[in-house]
């Protein structure tokens, strides 16, 4: 299943946030979206996932979602968005309550998602009892439970400490390794972008426009070698040079807002 950003523009009242953003995510592909603060990355993701109606243009999809997918476009949120009154198990089960699943099927999907994210032993815990990293794992388990075609990840690691971020990034790379799921990965962290993405969409400062789409010319499996790491670092520096001046301008704009 492909996901298409088709000339998307958006404004909040007088504030123009996105301007004519277009790109296509092919099945199984991971596209990172980077850009200066306030350039509309999260707004773009909300539009792509159908949570926000764009002022102009459209989010479209093409092809068929994988069989058994209950929610082809599934979000992983920056703030985890867990129900604090529900256990880990109930949080993962939450999106499975309404489709026509039998109790047995539902439990099987919950068990599978908990197992894939290493949460089986924590199924009875409440979110407040978990660390930030474990809470995000619950968010990922909940997303996996509906068997998505494309994950829409809105800065999923930005609320976490650097060690947890590293561990979860490795998990993400593992989950996306077989190409069964694609992802739009919004981040301000260029290192994450070059490590996880097949292509990187660089947005300009507000109103966000596509400045460049940069391919990462190696498979994720190849990115662990010393040679690959130096290439990725060079790419990261190249991306930073693309957005550095605008990031400075954006920061000053935010400070003066």
């Amino acid at each position: 299943m492909d996901l298409i950003a088709d000339h998307i523009s958006h404004r909040f009242g007088a504030l123009e946030v996105l301007n004519d953003v277009s790109f296509t995510l092919s099945a199984g592909e991971v596209v990172a979206v980077v850009g200066p603060s306030g350039c509309g990355k999260s707004t773009l993701l909300s539009i792509l996932g159908g949570l926000l109606r764009p002022t102009a243009g459209a989010a479209k999809w093409r092809g068929a979602p994988p069989s058994g997918s209950l929610n082809p476009l599934t979000f992983v949120f920056q703030d985890f968005a867990l129900l604090p009154w529900s256990t880990v198990e109930a949080n993962v089960e939450f999106p499975l309550l309404h489709p026509a699943l039998t109790v047995g099927e539902r439990h099987a999907q919950v068990d599978d998602a908990l197992r894939r994210t290493g949460l089986t032993d924590f199924r009875g815990a409440y979110p407040r009892q978990l660390s930030g990293g474990m809470r995000q794992r619950v968010g990922i388990a909940r997303a996996l439970a509906v068997r998505p075609a494309i994950l829409l990840m809105d800065e999923p690691l930005s609320a976490l400490d650097s060690q947890t971020r590293e561990l979860l990034l490795e998990d993400f790379i593992g989950l996306l390794a077989d190409g069964a799921m694609g992802a739009v990965y919004v981040t301000h962290n260029l290192e994450e972008a070059v490590r996880i993405a097949d292509r990187i969409v660089v947005l300009s400062r507000r109103p966000g426009r596509v400045r460049e789409i940069v391919p990462v010319a190696m498979t994720r499996a190849e990115r662990g070698t010393a040679d690959a790491r130096s290439k990725l670092l060079a790419l990261q520096n190249e991306l930073w040079s693309l957005i550095r001046n605008e990031a400075i301008d954006a920061e000053r704009e935010v400070q003066h807002a």
Partner: protein, 272 residues
């Protein structure tokens, strides 16, 4: 300990860093409140027994306890308490059910919000007891106007706490549910209701106090049974021990309601 740095000279003139983090974290002692209460009662009793206080104006705690005992033995206590409980119970349930329904409507729907908030803002500040004469005119002189007064008082505070609670439910949770195509009624039941529950229970605490206040006021205006009527009667007859017995019963009733809501919070909000 492995210190890979160069060796440092040992000095003996170090001073401890002064602790500056004390205070601003008050904790309620489990027994201090009760001990203070017992001390006040003991002083009060001693002053009464020593004749330092005129028992007509302030009867001693033992005299008040005797009055409560006599009321209980004679059966009058239950007559008055049951009449008040019936009025409070019926009025509170009616007001709460209506308040929850209207509060949710205001919290969820544009039209209901526009209309509901205007009406609530206009009518909430009216002391509901002022409407009792009008309600008597409309509903007669039986139980109905007293129950309606209580229900009105409870309704407004409940509706406000419910829609405030609905407004306070984190929007990210609603967006999360929408992103999974969860139906509207499931979002209301599984996201908004539990999210609003802390505010709703806090509202129950307030509405129970409002109900208690209104039942006493209503019974003082137009009833021959009930704690309010009993307190007024005792005051008119200068039976201050009986009057304070009624006040103690009201206080116990308020405490019981508080305990009940604490229990509900512990059961329903254990996740906090």
């Amino acid at each position: 300990m492995l210190d890979r740095g160069p060796p440092r000279a040992q000095r003996t003139d170090a001073r401890p860093v002064a602790f500056r983090g004390a205070g601003f974290a008050p904790r309620a002692s489990r027994h201090a409140g009760w001990i203070a209460m017992l001390v006040v009662l003991a002083v009060w009793q001693a002053a009464g027994s020593a004749g330092l206080v005129n028992s007509l104006f302030l009867p001693s705690p033992s005299a008040i306890m005797r009055a409560i005992w006599q009321l209980a033995v004679s059966g009058a206590l239950w007559q008055h308490v049951s009449a008040s409980l019936m009025r409070i119970g019926t009025g509170w349930i009616l007001g709460t059910v209506a308040g929850i329904a209207v509060g949710f409507a205001i919290g969820l729907f544009n039209q209901a919000r526009a209309i509901g908030i205007t009406f609530i803002s206009a009518l909430f500040p009216i002391p509901k007891i002022a409407l009792l004469p009008l309600l008597i005119l409309w509903l007669g002189i039986g139980e109905e106007p007293k129950i309606a007064t209580i229900a009105l008082g409870v309704f407004f505070s409940t509706a406000i706490s419910v829609y405030s609670g609905v407004d306070a439910v984190p929007r990210n949770l609603i967006r999360m549910a929408q992103s999974f195509n969860v139906p509207f009624e499931t979002i209301v039941l599984r996201v908004i209701w539990p999210g609003a529950l802390p505010s709703i229970l806090a509202g129950f605490r307030i509405s129970a106090s409002v109900a208690l206040l209104l039942v006493v006021s209503a019974e003082m205006i137009g009833a021959d049974r009930g704690i309010g009527a009993f307190v007024l009667q005792a005051g008119n007859l200068m039976q201050t021990d009986q009057l304070l017995a009624g006040v103690v019963i009201l206080s116990l009733f308020g405490l019981a309601v508080g305990k009940l809501i604490n229990w509900l919070e512990a059961r329903l909000l254990h996740w906090r």
